[in-house]
């Protein structure tokens, strides 16, 4: 029983990381119908941005005070991730706004590879795995029989709070309304006075900010980053977004927690053990796409008039 609860907790932690990244995927798809494969790399770049702040910006004596270094690294990470995302949108995706759907998809893959290699080549020592500082309280929290690191609890809490805040923003604010309008019908939205370029940039910024936060918290949790984490976690996040219904914020978060739970529980209880945990995630994805292609919370694809 303890193992079951512990694995559920582990699954939620993984789901929290993936959820923050999946929100970026799902928002961008909702607005411009593009699967931004480079979003995983935005997460990775954010992680390294936080590491850069730790290494070269923070003075030595302040590093151990997590209440200073953690916000500083988060800020650095968000700034780097947002800058990369905005540049990406401006130079790689905007020119292809009216091109057939395949073109921006391939561009996204290209940007993904380019970012991975750029970090690997230009960030000092990024060739091998880099240790990442644990910028938080170094203690275990025991909730009943389950033992979690403080950073893991932080990750889950921050992830849920940010998801709720994002949902509130999209539902209540003016820009949020513009985003929803553009995702429902871009032409009519333009007729109503919504600037589509601005809305799209804001979407990328929000997604990148979340990915940046996820990056630093992931690094603080695992204490070890390399340039491949973007691809790996990006695949999970993409799967989660599709599972939950691509275009739906709620779906992305719930899909992410489901994926996290499948990975840990599948690795524990299903035949093949931990080596096969990826297999179960993608089996579920295939089943969902076959029987309910719009995902759990998505709407069936409407043909636009």
């Amino acid at each position: 029983m303890t193992t079951l609860l512990q694995q559920i907790a582990n699954g939620l932690v993984l789901g929290a990381t993936i959820g923050l990244i999946a929100l970026g995927y799902t928002m961008v798809y909702g607005i411009i119908q593009l699967i931004n494969f480079a979003h995983g790399e935005v997460f990775m770049v954010g992680t390294f941005g936080g590491l850069a702040v730790w290494r070269w910006v923070l003075p030595e004596d302040v590093r151990d005070d997590w209440y200073i270094s953690l916000p500083a690294m988060l800020l650095g990470s968000i700034v780097v991730a947002v800058v990369i995302a905005v540049l990406m949108e401006r130079f790689a995706y905007r020119p292809l706004r009216n091109a057939p759907r395949l073109a921006p998809l391939i561009t996204a893959l290209g940007v993904s590879v380019a970012l991975q290699e750029a970090v690997r080549l230009w960030f000092p020592d990024a060739d091998a795995a880099q240790p990442y500082p644990r910028v938080f309280i170094e203690s275990q929290i025991k909730i009943g029989p389950v033992e979690l690191e403080a950073t893991e609890v932080l990750l889950i809490v921050v992830s849920i709070i940010l998801a709720i805040l994002l949902q509130a923003y999209v539902n209540k604010s003016k820009l949020g309304r513009a985003m929803r309008a553009t995702s429902q019908d871009p032409d009519t939205a333009r007729l109503m006075g919504v600037n589509p370029d601005r809305v799209i940039v804001v979407t990328f910024i929000l997604g990148a900010a979340l990915a940046g936060v996820a990056g630093v918290l992931y690094g603080a949790n695992i204490n070890n980053v390399d340039t491949a984490i973007g691809f790996q976690n990006g695949i999970f996040a993409f799967t989660a977004a599709v599972l939950g219904g691509i275009g739906s914020l709620r779906g992305a978060v719930i899909g992410a927690f489901i994926i996290g739970l499948i990975k840990t529980l599948g690795g524990q209880y299903l035949p093949g053990g931990t080596q096969y945990d990826y297999v179960w995630i993608f089996v579920i994805l295939i089943l969902v796409l076959v029987f309910r292609p719009q995902g759990l919370f998505g709407e069936a694809e409407r043909v636009r008039a």
Partner: protein, 409 residues
């Protein structure tokens, strides 16, 4: 108007690409006296190849191998070991992948004047490299492959030499695993051991030989799990081994995963020592999360303690390489020297031709000498006759040797 600009740009771009592709990326220089006045290098250049992970997560080990081989080549050039020829190093990157290793091997085997190749680091990569060199008949000496199957074939009860061109200067997992088991069970007194491997050739073989010996010694292997090669989050597998309450973990794999695994074990409340093979014996392991009290075995005696190694260490440091020689530097140095000495014996007074490859292999088989790792020689399978192993423990943030010896039966 716009179309014309695009077309012109495309033509220019294609032209530039063509130009860059045409430029040679061979590192060898043509024959000629060059900079070395003292030696006669009129007959040309001979190449010592290296295939190792020069980039990627194991680059610390790979660069150590490359630099040590380079040191051996430079020293041979200064001493004019092969009369009439200049020696050159050609290093290829295999990035720990079998496909790239096979490509590098093919490239080297079709390069003229290669006298031998120091390769590889990973046993899984060697499996793709061996057949290529065997077909070309080129001498291959590994400084770091420890999987038994590479020299003795798949069946441990029926050893059969697979490739006559393949040798190694390090000892094998068939001895390393049991040596670790003896230490962990008899000296450290651990009775309930969990095993995790990364699923690759090296880790699996090591874990198998460890298990057999540990069980004979009276310990219980409570569980055995596998993780993926690229995993960074081990919470799942740690939660899977926790219920069996092990008092030690034996890990079959490399340090980029072992380090974080050790740290996450402690975070999950399982404060047990991790023991591994030569794959985790690297200072990077400690940086990535290895804890005090973690153990590792490695091949050979500690480089710092051997007199024969001191000359190597001093020479290596004098050269000022950016990376340390790490776990396999001394073995790579010896391997390169065997290649050079064997070629020198064959070329003596004659002109090198690529038909001489098989003679170089024969000379290597009969080689006997003192190297940085101690006495160097090969048995009938191509394995090193030097079966020394050492157990190291993480003490005060660095690996310190605790026990050295030969594995006795």
């Amino acid at each position: 108007m716009r179309n014309q600009t695009v077309k012109a740009a495309a033509v220019v771009a294609a032209g530039l690409l063509l130009l860059s592709a045409c430029s040679s990326n061979k590192t060898e220089t043509p024959a000629g006296g060059g900079d070395n006045q003292a030696c006669d290098t009129s007959k040309g250049t001979l190449i010592v190849g290296v295939i190792a992970p020069l980039s990627g997560e194991l680059s610390a080990l790979g660069k150590g191998i490359e630099n040590s081989a380079s040191l051996a080549v430079d020293q041979a050039n200064e001493k004019c070991t092969i009369d009439g020829y200049k020696l050159q190093l050609q290093a290829e990157d295999d990035q720990k992948t079998p496909q790239l290793g096979a490509q590098a091997a093919t490239k080297l085997s079709s390069t003229p004047n290669v006298i031998g190749v120091v390769s590889t680091l990973n046993s899984s990569v060697s499996q793709s490299v061996q057949p290529v060199f065997d077909q070309a008949g080129i001498l291959q000496i590994s400084p770091a492959n420890t999987a038994d199957a590479l020299t003795k074939g798949e069946d441990p009860n029926n050893p059969k030499r697979a490739y006559s061109t393949y040798f190694r200067t390090c000892t094998v997992d068939g001895l390393q695993g049991p040596y670790a088991a003896d230490y962990l069970v008899k000296d450290a007194g651990k009775k309930k051991i969990a095993i995790i491997t990364d699923g690759l050739t090296y880790g699996e073989g090591l874990a198998d030989s460890f298990t057999a010996r540990a069980t004979t010694n009276g310990a219980e292997i409570v569980t055995r799990q596998k993780i993926g090669e690229k995993d960074t989050d081990f919470s799942g597998v740690i939660a899977a081994i926790k219920p069996s309450a092990p008092d030690a973990l034996y890990y079959g794999g490399q340090y980029p995963q072992a380090g974080p695994l050790s740290k996450q074990l402690a975070s999950a409340g399982l404060d047990i020592p991790v023991m591994g093979g030569d794959g985790i014996f690297d200072p990077e392991y400690i940086k990535l999360g290895g804890r005090e009290g973690d153990l590792a075995t490695s091949v050979g005696a500690p480089t710092e303690e051997l007199d024969s190694a001191k000359a190597f260490v001093d020479a290596y440091e004098a050269k000022g390489y950016a990376e340390s020689f790490s776990a396999y530097g001394a073995f790579s140095y010896d391997a390169a020297n065997v290649i050079i000495a064997s070629a020198a014996k064959v070329v003596e007074g004659k002109e090198w031709s690529d038909d001489m490859h098989k003679d170089v292999v024969t000379a290597a088989q009969d080689y006997s000498g003192e190297g940085a790792t101690g006495p160097v020689g090969f048995d009938e399978y191509g394995d090193s006759k030097n079966k020394t192993l050492t157990v190291y423990q993480v003490t005060s943030g660095a690996w310190k040797s605790v026990k050295t010896g030969e594995f006795e039966g």
